[in-house]
Amino acid sequence: MSTDLLNALAIFVLAILVGFEVISKVPATLHTPLMSGANSIHGIVLVGGMLIAAEADNALSYLLAFIAMVFGAANVVGGYVVTDRMLQMFRKKPTVAKAGSETAPAATDKG
């Protein structure tokens, strides 16, 4: 394989290792926000969409690139906003931090 490909694979493997290590013991109430947060991150395909849009030179490519842009943008923007809304629930507990603090909802969101 080309060195470029090998390096890409090394990057891939390392990123996987980071992914494994970065998630530690998470309180159950954070599962959904965390999932939503990760979900926004793969919105990075938006960058892919931009790159193919710039390369596009025929009707089909235009169409595919356009849809990719729309999809990617929705994933990114929507993902981060909705995650932020979920996390509004979590305010630090006034008293000293303890298990309890992990589900401290800020009674602010009118959904």
């Binding site: 890409a8 990057i11 891939f12 990123a15 996987i16 290792l17 980071v18 992914g19 998630i23 998470v26 159950a28 109430t29 599962h31 959904t32 926000p33 965390l34 999932m35 939503s36 947060g37 990760a38 979900n39 991150i41 793969h42 990075i44 395909v45 960058v47 892919g48 969409g49 931009m50 193919i52 849009a53 710039a54 490519s61 235009y62 595919l64 690139a65 356009f66 990719a68 729309v70 990617g72 943008a73 929705a74 994933n75 990114v76 923007v77 981060y80 906003v81 909705v82 809304r85 979920m86 629930m89 298990a99 309890g100 603090s101 992990e102 909802p105 800020a106 009674a107 602010t108 959904g111």
Partner: protein
């Protein structure tokens, strides 16, 4: 500044973005820092996207008008839609929205892969490795796309939540898989030159593979019960990450590879954590058939031989009104009935009468992690009244009335006592320790786990059969009347 240097800077920006994603996820492990984490991650994304734009504009040849139009318009439309939905969705509908965003993410990854293939097919760039990544990206992306849409539909109620198993679905799945693999091999061999297929044919094959993958995504999620959707969505989320990484290999872009792999791995771990939390295995969830199959409890007073004692609204009202200490135990039924406001009203009324009221929150009560917190936060229940399971369990013994509203499994003593029970070992709320128990539910219907609950035949328990919302309203009225 030379091309090279610009690209170098752009590369660094991408790298910084990826690093921000990692640190963001890290911070999202703990409630105190979670919100900053998400914002850090969003910042990284902004940097990465802007860098890409600059790169496209400044590189030789620059960015064609059409190219720019596609990018700008596409972003505005997609971003606008996403923003609108994210802003307006009800808190309790968020999981299906996340699933929707996940779907489009997967779709985008697939499109990038396919588009690239259309460009390189027949050209020298069409190497074996690229072809492999193209097909993987397209297949995984399409599976997530259709699968996530189904999951979203189930949660939204557009598609019946209960497991849907149509005749021959097994065979169909197998056929699809076999076909996909064959097509995959064909394209790879073609790219290797061992097999000579015209570009047109290759593209058609890829098209068919795409269709097969889309159908597969549907048949994969349909047989799974609605209650398991949070886990399924998390799994598909990890798929999308992988698809994005594959797309990254195709257009050989580091930030896609890194971020994709990151989500693929962390999403996988998270899925496991979620399954553990409601002690199920991922495999067991994916085969489907579980959950949503909520039957009705054996002949009243069957199993345990105890009998069920019904309680009238007025009796229940009196018990509550003259209690010292009441603990409300909300469950999935509260969510279904959207009774969060009703329960707050009753609680406030009782407090006005000097009763000490608090809410016992089980980590997996409801159908998504944090479901009860979301609901009650929405109803502006003062947060200090929400008590974690570990924190509140010791207090039940000092409680006069435990008011169970549409909760079932999370109160089922079988989890402690009966090793043969499917939920054995799951930590539960020790409701049965309370001096007396009032349960509001519509019938003797079973919960998510589809098992009997001896709590209902406990002599201390009075069953108030009603829809959660109505039942609470009636109680409130009755208490007012005292």
């Amino acid at each position: 500044m030379s091309q090279q240097w610009i690209y170098t800077l752009v590369f660094f920006a991408w790298l910084a973005g990826a690093a921000a994603f990692v640190l963001g996820l890290h911070q999202m492990n703990s409630p105190a820092t979670a919100r900053n984490g998400n914002r850090l991650s969003a910042g990284g994304m902004t940097v990465a996207v802007l860098a890409t734009l600059i790169y496209l504009i400044t590189r030789t040849g620059g960015l064609s008008g059409i190219g720019f139009a596609i990018i700008a318009i596409g972003f505005l439309i997609g971003g606008g839609l996403g923003l609108y939905m994210a802003r307006t969705v009800k808190m309790t509908a968020m999981p299906q929205l996340v699933s929707l965003f996940n779907a489009v993410g997967g779709g985008a990854a697939a499109l990038v892969a396919v588009d690239d293939y259309v460009k390189i097919v027949g050209q020298p760039e069409q190497t074996v490795s690229t072809t492999i990544f193209v097909v993987l990206g397209a297949v995984i992306g399409c599976i997530t796309f259709s699968g996530s849409l189904i999951a979203s539909g189930k949660l939204q109620g557009l598609i019946p939540g209960k497991p849907i198993i149509f005749p021959g679905s097994r065979i169909l799945t197998i056929v699809l898989a076999v076909f996909t693999v064959l097509g995959f091999l064909g394209l790879v061999l073609a790219s290797a030159g061992t097999l000579s297929i015209s570009s047109a044919v290759s593209i058609i094959i890829l098209g068919l593979i795409v269709v097969a993958a889309l159908v597969f995504g549907v048949t994969m999620v349909l047989p799974i019960g609605g209650a398991d959707m949070p886990v399924v969505i998390s799994l598909l989320n990890s798929f999308t990450g992988t698809a994005a990484a594959m797309a990254g290999f195709v257009i050989n872009n580091p930030v896609l590879i890194i971020s994709g792999a990151l989500v693929g791995a962390s999403g996988g771990i998270l899925t496991k954590l979620m399954a553990d939390a409601m002690n199920r295995s991922i495999a067991n969830i994916m085969v489907g058939g579980f959950g949503g199959g909520e039957g009705t409890m054996a002949a009243v007073g069957g199993a345990e031989g105890g009998t069920v004692r019904e309680i009238g609204v007025d009796d229940a009202a009196i018990q509550l009104a003259y209690a010292q200490k009441v603990i409300v135990v909300p469950g999935y039924g509260l969510a279904v009935a959207q009774a969060q406001h009703a329960v707050r009203e009753l609680a406030e009324l009782l407090e006005a009468r000097g009763v000490e009221v608090s809410y016992a929150i089980h980590p997996v009560a409801g159908r998504m992690p944090g479901h009860m917190n979301v609901l009650l936060a929405e109803a502006n229940v003062p947060y200090p009244q929400l008590r974690e399971m570990e924190e509140v369990n010791p207090e039940f013994s000092r409680t006069d009335v435990a008011l169970v509203v549409g909760a079932n499994d999370v109160t089922n003593p079988a989890a402690r006592s009966n090793p043969s029970s499917p939920i054995y070992g799951m930590p539960i709320l020790d409701v049965d320790q309370a001096k007396s128990i009032v349960v509001i539910k519509r019938s003797m219907g079973r919960g998510y786990a589809g098992i009997d609950n001896e709590l209902y035949t406990n002599p201390k328990t009075g069953m108030l059969f009603a829809d959660a919302k109505d039942g609470l309203a009636q109680l409130t009225a009755a208490v007012k009347g005292l």
